[in-house]
């Protein structure tokens, strides 16, 4: 267990570095992918997501209010993912690396969902009159609750479940 903990800490250090350096480039991928998902909601169909450094700005050529999303706060669970896979025995073996690759795809999808939830919550609760006009109480509560759940326990829950499933599935463990 001690060796595993040391591998975890090494993975954590690597993860922090990758996350810190890669966030601006990652946001360039995250913004357009999330925008496609966001347009499923007709209230936000005119929103344009513009990535800039560690943030994503929500803009529009319509009267839709603008917003700033702290995108890096939605994606730092990648650090835990890399640390957990690094803690596995023989982390460089092909099966483990394949697990990392699959988990990264799952994580990217979860980041898009997380971005949409954060934007919906922002527009449902924090845009004053516009929010009241376009979201009912139930809708606003739903998006706020979804954001609360996803911002901490949800984002780490996805990481843990992905790592657990991919590290304990038959193809990886055999």
């Amino acid at each position: 267990m001690l060796l595993r903990a040391l591998r975890f800490l090494a993975g954590l250090a690597l993860g922090v570095w990758i996350w810190w350096v890669a966030v601006p480039a990652y946001n360039q991928l995250l913004a357009p992918a999330s925008q496609g998902l966001l347009h499923a909601d007709p209230r936000l169909a005119a929103a344009v997501l513009v990535p800039q450094e560690r943030k994503v700005f929500v803009t529009s050529s319509t009267p839709l209010p603008t917003a700033t999303m702290p995108a890096d706060q939605l994606t730092y669970n990648i650090i835990l993912l890399l640390a957990l896979f690094a803690s596995n025995e023989r982390p460089w073996r092909l099966a483990n690396l394949r697990g990392v690759a699959i988990a990264l795809v799952i994580l990217f999808v979860s980041h898009c969902v997380s971005m949409v939830i954060a934007i919906e919550s922002t527009y449902a609760v924090r845009q004053g009159a516009w929010s009241e006009q376009h979201y009912g109480d139930a809708g606003a509560n739903f998006w706020l609750m979804a954001e609360l759940v996803f911002r901490i326990v949800g984002m780490f829950g996805v990481v843990f479940a992905s790592w657990w499933a991919l590290s304990h599935s038959k193809s990886v463990s055999t």
Binding site: M1, R4, A5, F8, L12, G15, V16, W19, W20, D72, Q73, Y76, N77, I79, L80, A83, L84, M145, L148, V149, R151, I152, V153, G154, F156, G157, V159, F160, A161, W164, A165, L166, H168, S169, K170, S171, V172, S173
Partner: protein, 169 residues
Amino acid sequence: MALAPRQTRFLIVFALLLIGFYAIITIEAVDTHVVLPFTAALARVSGGVLNLLHENVHVDGTVIAGSRFAVDIRGGCNGLEAVVFVSAAMLAFHAPMRKRIIGALAAAVILESLNVVRIVSLYLLGVYHRNVFEMFHLAVWQTLMFGAAVFLFLIWTSRVAPRDAATSA
């Protein structure tokens, strides 16, 4: 890539418990009567440790303040999320109920002790190395707390179900 039925069941129950427990601690009445007093107690303990380190801080509710820096311990920084996380994992695991409850309680104590270390270290970073405070606050310590929760879960499973721990949660 297939999971055994028991593993799938574990993940589903884990997810449901995680959302359920987290929903409970966000209820306003629970927040007012349980979470806030607990967080204030955590602030007092952390403030006491900082004073032992000659930082000369005073605690007001959930705020720890010194002459050069202050921290307000809010939801997300009181360690309850990691406790909820590990409790959901242990209670979802196939093991005798008594062992699950004892495991979750022990993990809660360990994680909250670690959280005092987090608060103290973040205060010290705020005073002496403010340029890295945000990175440690957001990325490093959150990951360490949830990483510790996962490790406690792994240690616990290896004790309560050594045969099952590696293959079939």
